[in-house]
Subunit: 520 residues, 2 copies
């Protein structure tokens, strides 16, 4: 752990080595130029695969054995089954039974249902997790209990790391709501439908071995083949890959909190009055209650004006589906589905299109979808006076969230963060973010229930709302107001030990998270 | 050219080096184990691409200049525009104007419309073609006039060569009937629709630079994105990418020749009586008149029996589409469309699915579609007494055809070659094939208008038609009969100089074509 450190371009002290491998310090937005070539997995040959195309083996354990599971390997999974995932933990149950040690788990995200892997982090089955860690897992990391150093990446950073060979996946274990015996797989159909499974696309292309786990083996061809069978080694059929009601919400709901509704209203008013909402607009918002309320307001404005959004990028929800179905959105491009209406829409509406993050978010690609978006609605745990954002730690210093697509989405034309002025009496606007996840130059507007702060770099936006009557304020004013109400919270105290690294979209290290000092 | 030679596992004398690069002699079916890793193109970065996603540049010339076109580069194109292609030749017109020399043209196939490139082979703009060469181009090669050595590969061998880095594509120029400004592209829509453009998929993934040329720029997202925009560097909009009536036939037609109809009838009778035609059968046939007649007969049998083919793999034709629409075929998986009915079907029928050869035919993949097919109907220019097949040269020694998917398709369960006993009074069954393209062990049945020969290795098939009344004969009997009618043709005489290499599906060299001695 005692690696040499430097101060990166964001002024953060970062190591030159993580988990024994050299890393590159963050150089600034768009400043790092990748060298070299994409990662190249071993060449396969058809002579090793059954001529009849039937790759079904008897169990996940058999498949893992056939893949040569051994100490130190990197195992990847996707998170499309969300909190209903029954497969990821199973992999480590099997590994533990086989007395395998020092695995690296490389999920596209983790959920509370994955908390049981803590015991495998404790007993050495798993060396570390490279991926989002929420709740108890994050707490485990913050307390310095994980053997290896966590590496946090955005969804796009994850596929960049796969493509560039920063992470070499030995075995990808990809759960699939439907699959055929050749390994073609998709996110719809069966009793565990999750809509799309595109988070597994890069894994399937670059992993040495690929296992599809399904509870719905259908006749060839399983189509659309989100995962292409010619990348797949083995297919495993199980009773249940997930718990349906935890995979997608029955329905996502707009916020009922008056404060959050006010934030949503202010946000809708801002994007309307500033003129960034227009006919043909492209927009992306999350699935949180405030974002959904904004989507509802925006839908109404589009309707009233007779405008239509060209496309929206999902995380899809019933509110986007409604816009699509009622004619206020041309297409939904979709990386993941959050509710049952979205799953149904993906399956039935030809204008609701699976669009993997590999194609949308990979910064080491020939263009990204995110920079095409006009309006991007995002959250944050903290924003500082320089508009820098934090989404992984709370002000108490604990790692409690993954980055998700947040860093990738910062590349949109107008990035707006509707956030409450405080949460549980902890102010959200701070002097300096506990952990830097995104540089302030990419964050354009912060909207709280007490006002709207526009980044001074965006003179055009400042001009656009002059005389609009919107409550334009500075971040300092809003911070001061929050502190008058809640008081200034004590800063967390850290040890020197680095427990997690935060990567930027280009694979450089933008910040680190250090072990928390125990509170007496 | 004076490379060392060896005798390969098929008994053919082949060089150890082609165009200055070492090659591996054929080792037998399934015997060559690839080593090493897939080819890895350079890592790109979004910071080099327009944030608004608009990659349109003013002309193909500008795009080629921006791609850094220079001497010795490898330029790839796909052949979905068939004999109506207006783009491939254009690339070399531009290169010639720029005084570029020694290019390698790597098309997925060439057509008579490409004959004008002969002048660029003559003046040194193009060093060689690695791909099929028909008619005058083939003649040019056979006469030893091409500077470099031609390399002939199957459709699957071509993507294997791309994937494995045997051929490193510098610039892929991919014509697209529809595309958006980000570079997402597809084979339907507009005035030059060709159905699918999957032959360009591997090129887009592995080329250093990718240019999309379209005459139908549509709004983002162009979907389904057969070519994914995140692999694309530039988009060029032209008036016309192709001549519609030459891109696909208005309609494909069954043979009217009584002899060919007899062959088709015998073939249908054989696959019915042998029991290889069954409910759920998977079958593939070409778009030639005899194959189409077989398809019509088979359709009727399926109808009569109440059977249904699980899926067919296309080259699709209106006869396959009819089976799909009338319920005798579950799905068409499609690598290319041969007629207008097929194009319409791909666009409108969700069970008519684009399935690129990259996924279906690449032998260095985790399984192939071809080995899943029950019945495969193929042609040949020559068959010898050991069931070896030739599809590239005629008995006069001239290179006149490409391999197409022929070698890949030999991996099906039952490979049947319905061929006439003679063409233009030249017998098709010979003592030894002029050029070996496929080993006899993979060819199961040869059906001519004078009888059916079953490969002795297929005892099961021989048993299956005992007492069926079908005219089962030996290849020798049929060869003798043909020679009694036509006489035994003189063998062509060759120089030592190798003008073309024929690769097997695994990248090894199965045979070569030598320069023809001028006939006095």
């Amino acid at each position: 752990m005692a690696s040499e450190t430097v101060i990166n371009a964001a002024g953060r002290i970062v190591p030159l080595e993580i988990n024994g491998t050299p890393v590159i310090p963050y150089k600034g937005v768009g400043k790092h130029r990748p060298e070299g070539r994409k990662y190249s997995p071993p060449i396969a040959t058809c002579s090793d695969y059954p001529a009849d195309g039937n790759k079904v083996v008897s169990s996940l354990e058999e498949a893992l054995r056939l893949c040569g599971l051994k100490n130190g390997m990197t195992i990847s999974t996707h998170h499309h089954l969300r909190d209903g995932d029954l497969i990821s933990n199973k992999v480590f149950d099997i590994a533990s039974d086989m007395n395998i040690k020092d695995l690296i788990w490389f999920p596209s995200a983790s959920f509370p249902c994955n908390d049981p892997v803590i015991k495998y982090l404790e007993d050495g089955t798993i060396n570390r997790i490279e991926g989002s860690m929420n709740g108890p897992l994050g707490r485990f990391v913050s307390e310095g209990k994980m053997k290896g150093t966590a590496v946090l990446r955005s969804h796009g950073g994850r596929v960049q790391a796969i493509q560039d060979g920063e992470v070499k996946i030995d075995i990808a274990v990809l759960a699939a709501p439907s699959a055929d015996s050749f390994g073609n797989a998709k996110g719809t159909g069966g009793s565990s439908a999750c809509g799309v499974i595109g988070y597994g696309k890069a894994d399937s292309m670059y992993a040495t071995k690929v296992i599809i786990v399904t509870d719905n083996l259908i006749e060839m061809p399983c189509f659309p083949m989100e995962i292409e069978g010619n990348y797949v080694d083995y297919v495993v059929v199980v009773d249940k890959i997930g718990i349906p009601e935890k995979i997608v919400s029955g329905t996502t709901q707009v916020t009922k909190s008056p404060d959050r509704l006010l934030i949503a209203e202010l946000t809708a008013a801002f994007i309307e009055k500033s003129g960034i909402l227009k006919d043909g607009v492209t927009m992306q918002a999350g699935a949180g209650g405030t974002s959904l309320a904004i989507a509802v307001f925006v839908h109404q404005i589009l309707k009233d004006k007779g405008w239509k959004s060209k496309f929206g990028f999902g995380g899809s929800t019933k509110y986007m589906v409604k816009m699509l179905e009622e004619g206020q959105m041309g297409h939904i491009l979709d990386a993941q589905a959050f509710d049952l209406d979205s799953v149904r829409s993906i399956e039935n509406n030809p204008n609701h299109i699976a669009y993997p993050v590999f194609n949308a978010y990979n910064y080491h690609s020939k263009g990204n979808l995110t920079s095409l978006m006009d309006i991007m609605i995002l959250g944050a745990t903290e924003i500082d006076l320089n508009f820098n954002g934090n989404v992984v730690t709370h002000s108490d210093g604990y790692l409690l969230h993954g980055i998700g697509g947040w860093q990738n989405c910062l590349h949109a034309r107008n990035v707006i963060l509707p956030i409450p002025l405080f949460r549980d009496r902890i102010p959200v606007i701070v002097d300096e973010v506990t952990t830097l996840c995104g540089p302030g130059e990419l964050i354009d507007v912060v909207i709280t229930e007490r006002g709207i702060a526009i980044n001074p770099l965006r003179r055009d936006l400042i001009e656009s709302v002059k005389g609009s009557g919107l409550p334009i304020r500075s971040l300092t004013e809003m911070k001061d107001e929050a502190e008058r109400i809640c008081g200034k919270p004590q800063k967390p105290r850290f040890e020197d030990e680095i427990v997690a690294a935060v990567k930027w979209v280009d694979g450089t290290v933008i910040d680190v998270i250090r072990k928390l000092k125990p509170v007496k």
